[in-house]
């Protein structure tokens, strides 16, 4: 009981710091946005798109750092969006398809980004900058109010688009041919998904770093799909899991002094294990 009191006292002290409140707000919003698209991306077999685009975002952030831009997102978002469009909109007749396209673009961007950072070093601590961008150690705790507002605006845009076009996204996820036959502009909506995914990934670099972004997209969706079979239920459950994991991960990391990104991912892994167990028990009972 005494330990819980100590933890609550520490938390109430920590919440007095504005950067903790900013981290929670942005962390929860990013996790929510990532999870909404996660179900669709997992079902379309694009789970690794998060990884691929995050490497592109890393490369873009590296170039933005060298150019000393006031906010790296001004360059990272357009470049990542372009690459997302190139990957997700690639046709069946493309010479380099699907996973190969992701591999080519992502590895190329990662290597280019690291090379650029080394040659045109903007700070004295290159490995620290690279490590922070890759693993998101404490970047979420160094947000300025302008970063928070930008994240809020972008998250509202993503949420609005998802809610407005939910039915279309549902149709495209399960049966693109049927969607085309129904008169849905599949290419346009695939483009929309690509753009939204790119925005979420650039935002998520601050939270979990480039290497761990896939976890935010994939784990909540997979956990929800263990238990819920309908698209709507799985999406709602995925959103709840993701938000809880992000909030819990941030709180645990500031209490225990652990890296924020990895702590959030570990909480997601634990959630996945629990939901897998629940799903297995449900299957046994049925």
């Amino acid at each position: 009981m005494l330990e819980f009191n100590n933890i609550f006292e520490k938390l109430s002290l920590y919440f007095q710091y504005p950067f903790v409140r900013y981290a929670l707000i942005v962390g929860v919003l990013i996790a929510l946005c990532a999870s909404l698209l996660g179900v669709s991306l997992v079902l379309k077999r694009f789970s690794f798109i998060g990884d691929g685009l995050s490497h592109v975002a890393f490369g873009a952030v590296a170039i933005a750092s060298v150019l000393k831009l006031s906010n790296n997102m001004y360059l990272a978002i357009p470049i990542t969006v372009l690459c997302a469009i190139a990957i997700l909109s690639s046709s069946q007749n493309a010479k380099i398809k699907g996973d190969a396209a992701i591999a080519v673009i992502s590895v190329g961007a990662l290597a280019t980004g690291y090379l650029v950072l080394n040659i045109f070093a903007a700070s004295a601590n290159i490995s620290g900058d690279v490590c922070t961008t890759l693993f998101g150690s404490t970047s979420i705790l160094t947000l300025k109010p302008s970063d928070v507002w930008l994240s809020i605006v972008l998250s509202i845009i993503v949420l609005t688009l998802f809610i407005l076009f939910y039915n279309k996204i549902f149709a495209i996820t399960f049966d693109e041919d049927f969607a085309v036959a129904s008169g849905i502009r599949v290419k346009a909506y695939n483009l929309l998904i690509a753009v939204v995914t790119a925005i979420i990934i650039v935002l998520a670099i601050n939270l979990v770093g480039s290497l761990l972004i896939s976890a935010l997209i994939v784990f909540p969706a997979l956990s929800a799909m263990r238990v819920f079979k309908s698209f709507k239920s799985a999406t709602i459950c995925s959103a709840i899991i993701s938000v809880v994991a992000a909030a819990l991960g941030i709180i645990i990391s500031i209490l225990a002094g652990t890296p924020v990104g990895s702590t959030i991912v570990v909480v997601n892994i634990v959630n996945f294990a629990l939901f897998y167990l629940v799903g297995a028990l449900k299957g046994v009972k049925a």
Partner: protein, 160 residues
């Protein structure tokens, strides 16, 4: 003969109070450096009570939003570091903290007002120090630098 050798060995071991520094050279261990406060103080920001993740975030906040901390009494603990800058021909002293992954480090400069000889009257580089001081900003060569004006400093000797 055996008794003589064991007595000799004991004297050598007892007499050697050194620890090995980063270069592997035995050095004589000096007394921990202490700067005592001349008057009582009240701590406004105590970083020693925060987790390492929080400390990193708060120090970053202090470096970015310096105006919010000027005049406040700060207590922080970290690794002592020092470097000599050719342009000003001065030694600068820092308390350095790392983030949870230890890949990123931040440092805050501290200044001891009284005249002290470096390195004899400063902590051993790499040792843990706790500094209490007043946060301020000074200008040098056209750039503003945040620093802590030391009220109290305690060094903890690294035991290896």
């Amino acid at each position: 003969m055996k008794k003589l050798l064991s007595i000799l060995l004991s004297f050598i071991l007892l007499g050697n109070m050194a620890y090995v520094n980063a270069e592997g050279i035995n050095t004589a261990q000096k007394e921990p450096i202490l700067v005592e406060a001349k008057e009582p103080y009240f701590i406004d920001v105590d970083l020693t009570k925060l987790s390492s993740t929080m400390v990193f975030g708060e120090v970053y906040n202090m470096l970015v939003n310096t105006q919010d901390y000027i005049g406040k009494t700060i207590k922080m603990g970290g690794m002592y570091s020092s470097n000599f800058f050719d342009l000003t021909q001065k030694n600068y002293h820092y308390v350095v903290i790392s983030d949870a992954m230890a890949c990123c480090q931040q440092g805050l400069e501290f200044v001891i007002e009284e005249e002290r000889k470096y390195p004899e009257e400063y902590p051993q580089i790499g040792n843990y120090i706790e500094v209490v001081g007043v946060f301020g900003v000074y200008e040098e060569l056209g750039t503003n630098y945040p620093y802590i004006k030391v009220l109290e400093l305690k060094e903890k000797i690294l035991i290896q």
